[in-house]
Amino acid sequence: AQECQNLELEKQRRIERIKQKRAQLQELILQQIAFKNLVQRNQQTEEERKSPPPRSSVIQLPFILLNTSVRTVIDCSISSDKCEYLFNFDNTFEIHDDIEVLKRMGMSFGLEYGKCTPENLKTAKSLVPKSLESYVTGMADGQILNQEQFTC
């Protein structure tokens, strides 16, 4: 009976770990879909326009984004070699990585919200290996595992 109890605990620990790893895998899948979708979009756009966009009007990945209200006063100090920056804000700000920005642009087809049209689902599946297609279908059906639920 004691061994049963220990094994029950072990089983629960493994189930939790598996849920966490599944959530991490889902996040990686979204990253791959978003990135490949972006590359495809840009390739198509450049083909249609027959030329790349001006370099000064694009932001190359990877990057980090800081956003704040237009009313925020930002004080910026930069070292002479540009290896150190100090920003002082008089208001709150947010920081996002490039993958978060791609998701907001819709590059992951809304899979992270469980909302994906059948046509986009087909495209999304084509951007991942066959062995992972079931995860994409699962996400489209709303089986999203939020990593935050499992972090300490």
């Binding site: 049963c4 800081l66 150190e84």
Partner: protein, 109 residues
Amino acid sequence: KEVLDHLQRLKAQIEDLEIKEKELDQQKCWLQQSIKNISEDPTNSRFAYITHEDLCNCFSGDTLLTVLAPSGTQLEVPVPEMGQNGQKKYQVNLRSQSGPIQVLLINKE
């Protein structure tokens, strides 16, 4: 006998969970490598960009700063403190050991 049966079932379930966990580890490892390969591919790198318009559409009405920095660059945000003038201070510190950092101000207006 019931307890023994339950024990056997638990052992079998744990074995299945172990297999599933190993499968997930492999898939995760494979996918991480795949993302690395895709993002480092020169052809893909050429098309891995977003436009100012893309950003402004997502964060409409905000002042935006994009930071492009070498790997290993450290971004540090201290806990906000009350300043001498009674206003809260919010800071971001960027430090790079291997090359300059590029910061772009993107404000539609």
